[in-house]
């Protein structure tokens, strides 16, 4: 019996998040405006069965399927929200789960580094996969658990403000988002990201991390 960790529906992939997924995804690449669903379960290996259900039940395209240390993650997308929602329903039915069985996400840490120095920018840029962070921009970093919700936070932040999507890590123990931009935009984006996470329902789950 699989444990449902994340069940994240994105109504409309924003341009930069779509471009970012297009950079990191090993499967079919999504485009802006498509709907997307991210499902994260435990144990990870069970994600193979989840993908089987999604692609056979509907017309969705899988972008990422990742089996990592403990968890498994699947990203699917389609121009039709209906198809993506239907795939989610089929997945939940097969796993004998409900959407409310997902874990209620929580923000583990959130910080803004203002006016980032040239030297620090270089270290960030060597590890990111999205936009570059430019010296003297501000950097917003947020950690969220479970990891899949990082995509939702990034998508909502991109809707709200003119930021650069530097990195979005949506697999593993924690999700992490890195956004760069002018301070005025980061101030708006950081609130949007936090509100997005706090707006989601789910079951309470104890975290492996004690901050």
């Amino acid at each position: 019996m699989a444990d449902l960790r994340s069940f994240v529906f994105l109504d409309s992939l924003q341009p930069q998040l779509a471009a970012y997924l297009g950079t990191i995804a090993k499967g079919f690449l999504p485009v802006a405006g498509e709907a997307s669903l991210i499902v994260e379960i435990s144990p990870g290996i069970e994600i193979n069965r989840v993908t089987d259900i999604a692609v056979k039940a509907t017309d969705v395209r899988p972008g990422m399927q990742i089996v990592e240390r403990l968890y498994g993650m699947l990203e699917i997308h389609s121009p039709s929200q209906g198809d993506v929602r239907q795939a989610g329903v089929a997945i939940l039915e097969a796993l004998k789960l409900k959407e409310s069985d997902r874990i209620k996400p929580r923000v583990l840490s959130s910080q803004v580094i203002k006016h980032v120095d040239d030297l620090q920018v270089q270290l960030i840029n060597r590890n990111r996969q999205g936009m570059m962070l430019i010296a003297r921009e501000s950097l917003f970093i947020m950690e969220v658990e479970p990891a899949g919700y990082a995509a939702f936070a990034a998508n909502e932040a991109e809707k709200a403000a003119e930021i650069n999507v530097v990195d979005v890590r949506m697999t593993g123990a924690f999700g992490r988002i890195y956004l760069g931009g002018e301070q005025r935009d980061i101030d708006v984006a950081s609130v949007a990201a936090k509100n997005a996470i706090e707006s989601l329902t789910g079951r309470e789950a104890s975290s492996s991390r004690k901050d």
């Binding site: 471009a19 970012y20 950079t23 040239d118 570059m132």
Partner: protein, 208 residues
């Protein structure tokens, strides 16, 4: 040192923020920061670049960012907070190989293309191979090819000074240099003449 062919001698007075961030992403050596002066030297045969780096680091306090030996040519990028220090490194290198700056190859633009309003699917292909910013669907793309390759660094730096563009990729070594810039049409239309003019403004001997 006889037998060394000076291909590029490209002095950048002030690395622009995105260009510096880009070099910080691709460079394997010391990373430059915005506002520093930078010098790109390209020679043939490539293996001799080891000797060039030796001269530059022993003669001055510059930091080497990239040293690349590729199929035919060698590239060295050095940078420093002081323009004078970078210029002095350049002079020491030229003295060693018995050349003058004017003996570099006059760069030639091989292609210069604007593709407007990129489709989502095309942006994905570009984003998977670029090292700088991502291009987002609906933006325009500018590509420049220049020979010798190191001159691409100057074209990109001058374009970034002129317009509010995003630097996607700069390839400054190999047989051709390439610059990929993205942005709104209004910015791309300012950036590409700036890039072309920077290349046309350089003197040098005729290339082979």
């Amino acid at each position: 040192m006889a037998g060394i062919d000076l291909r590029s001698y490209v002095f950048l007075d002030s690395l622009q923020p995105q260009h510096a961030a880009f070099l910080g992403t691709v460079a394997k050596g010391f990373l430059p920061t915005g506002g520093q002066a930078s010098l790109f030297i390209e020679i043939s045969p490539g293996i001799e670049i080891n000797r060039i780096t030796d001269i530059a680091v022993k003669a001055t306090g510059i930091k080497p960012g990239m040293q690349i030996v590729e199929r035919l040519y060698g590239l060295l990028e050095v940078h420093h907070d002081e323009q004078a220090e970078v210029r002095r490194a350049g002079e020491a290198i030229l003295r060693e190989i018995g050349c003058e700056e004017s003996q570099r190859i006059k760069p030639e633009i091989l292609s210069s293309t604007v593709i407007r309003h990129l489709d989502d699917r095309q942006t994905q292909l570009i984003n998977r191979t670029r090292h700088g910013h991502m291009i987002v669907a609906g933006q325009s793309l500018y590509t420049l090819e220049v020979q010798p390759a190191a001159n691409a660094a100057l074209a990109a730096n001058e374009a970034e000074k002129a317009a509010h563009i995003k630097v996607l990729e700069i390839v400054s070594f190999g047989s051709l240099g390439r610059v990929y810039l993205a942005g709104e049409d209004r910015d791309i239309d300012v950036a590409w003449p700036a890039a072309e003019n920077a290349i046309r403004g350089l003197s040098g001997r005729a290339g082979k």
